[in-house]
Symmetry: C2
């Protein structure tokens, strides 16, 4: 750690506000718990054992991951109930078996008979019944079996039955990210719920047990919709939140726990611009808010304590330069911030911005003291 | 290394084709050498000691970096002539002095009297004359002193003179990335050249020595323009090339040395789509070609040997999923590629895609053998 205050940190770097993290996780637990279903956090945003320890009530708590690397790191840290929620490829089954043999209850997802056969074959060869969930398409967004396609559902269940194990059904309404208000979020939540509940019901009618019925995306996880028939909700970004989720309306900028600490390195006074040392390498190239009514460009600028400087945005980014100025139509004037001034930038997309950094500098609210350095990992 | 063939590698991962790398570097050396100026490679794209050793004629060769982390890693590897080409912030001068004391001839850049004073002060305190180049604005793109602003140029030179050192002038026409043909590239090269040459001449008339006159950007580095008065050319992406540079017209897709190896994990047959295991985490969120006449979406798809599959693109990307299909208007049909098929994806922007990975798997042309695993680093 470079000193014990963010005033001494080498910039750019990543800050994580514990106060906001704890508040966001409390809200998720309350909202999802009130519906009588389990919250299975997605760890693809955090990619950190320390963050995971902070947000889980115990290591036995169920989690979701997006890579086998995540599964391996979290299993080594003592987590046991792990769902690998990306369609399984044949070449990855060796690592899945390996992790299960080491004691992790790792499950996989798939959406074709072809994949079902490879999972069944790997199970038979390894004598390790790999539990699989069938991915259901609730939004025409990516993969998944159509919920009304009972034939494919039963065919997949049948190839799994002999040597592997049908664990359940799962969906992710990625399209809910395009929501603009609570009504739209709630409509996506209904689609997610109805898709998996009807698929589960078809499978049960065909004689299969379906213990897990899983939905999840950050917007829908915080919907107002009841979830009868659903057993668990997955969500990742919602621990940290970001400007895309603020645009969707499930949080405000003051809920965003993640920020990039940066330093002013120059001015272009006649153009009303400042240059900071956080470019897209530190902020990521993610411009998720570009498709929203309020485009936050490369991020919203806060002072060193995390208070939003109204109207001040990272308007553009080069690899190691951020170009800061007032957003179009802002009545406020560019604040005078000399070279050396430190600022915090709120990210478009927490998953993408966090991925550009190797550690979280943990702070609490506006206090500049660094409480901890929590490493994060990447890779596959 | 996971086996000695890319057929056994865990996907997604990054491939570097040595044949193409060598050819690209040869072309740069020939083009720039023919103009009688020095090629000072920018190492911000590669961020790898092994790549650097491969492309430099000797460790004494001049290089450019975008972070002090790069300067530290390359100095530790034995490089000595290092230009840190991002406007210097006061808090970073301690590390600059440290590196110079260890023997690296590290120079910095700046574009204000304010920065000049902090560099002079740090030089006086450390008794280590820090060499600085004045950044010149050749395209209204980012930072830099206007070349005709002789007053500011002389004022910066004056504050440096007493305790630090004026090393020269430098510019980067980032706007040249928007070029669509050789004429436009050549026009930007003329602007770069004329901006620094005229700034250098103003400084010399004011009585200052200006040993270094530095220009550079990947498009202009390969222009047809002669460079009288210029001493060196910087360029980074051009070692690897990418789809943005193919769109600009300085290379073809067959010159692109960098690709992401991926595996087919599913199909959406009725929609004419395939799902691969390279999402934006492996490809980056960079969509540089979106602003070009030919939008290559998240990347152009090649077979396992690196031959372009005409019209096949990564149309969209989630964190760990790429959605592959035919580009709009393509007459070709979607090839039948079963789950498990391996493909190579050519990147929009080499700097951004490489940054998502921790190593290069080095191959040679279409041969699947892995010649080496070259680690790369990130951070600041």
């Amino acid at each position: 750690m470079d000193g014990n205050s963010i005033l001494q940190l080498a910039t750019p770097c990543l800050l994580l506000d514990l106060e906001r993290l704890d508040r966001n996780v409390r809200r998720l637990n309350e909202t999802i718990g009130a519906k009588g279903v389990t919250y299975r956090p997605h760890l693809k945003t955090a990619k950190s054992v320390d963050v995971t320890r902070r947000v889980l009530p115990s290591l036995a708590h169920p989690v979701t991951v997006s890579t086998l690397k995540e599964a391996e790191v979290f299993a080594a840290a003592g987590l046991t109930d792990i769902l690998y929620a990306v369609g399984i490829a044949p070449a990855k089954l060796g690592r899945v078996v390996e992790l299960r043999r080491k004691g992790a209850d790792l499950s996989v997802i798939l959406d074709s008979v072809e994949q079902g056969r490879t999972v069944a074959k790997a199970s038979a060869v390894s004598k390790e019944r790999i539990p699989a969930l069938i991915e259901i398409d609730s939004d025409g967004h990516r993969g998944g079996v159509a919920p009304e396609d009972g034939e494919t559902l039963a065919a997949i269940a049948a190839v799994l039955a002999a040597d592997a194990k049908l664990r359940g059904v799962l969906t992710h309404a990625g399209s809910s990210y395009s929501s603009r208000n609570r009504e739209e979020i709630n409509a996506w939540a209904v689609r997610e719920r109805d898709a998996v509940v009807s698929a589960a019901s078809r499978l049960r009618k065909a004689g299969y047990e379906v213990p897990v019925v899983s939905v999840g995306s950050t917007p829908t996880a915080l919907s107002d919709i009841d979830l009868p028939g659903v057993t668990e909700v997955r969500a990742g970004v919602s621990m940290f939140f970001d400007l895309v989720q603020a645009g969707v309306g499930v949080c405000t900028p003051d809920d965003i726990a993640l920020s990039v600490l940066t330093t002013v390195i120059g001015h272009q006074k006649e153009r009303g611009l400042m240059i900071v040392d956080a470019g897209w390498m530190a902020l990521s190239r993610d411009r998720g808010t570009a498709a929203q009514p309020i485009d936050q460009k490369y991020g919203l600028v806060c002072d060193i304590e995390g208070n939003v400087l109204e109207g001040l945005l990272v308007l553009d980014a080069n690899q190691e330069h951020g170009i800061v100025g007032m957003c179009e139509g802002s009545a406020a004037r560019l604040p005078e911030l000399p070279v050396g001034t430190r600022l915090r930038i709120l990210p478009n997309h927490a998953c993408a911005t966090a991925a550009q950094h190797s550690a979280y500098h943990v702070v609490q609210g506006g206090d500049p003291s660094i409480r901890a350095l929590w490493p994060r990992f990447g890779g596959w």
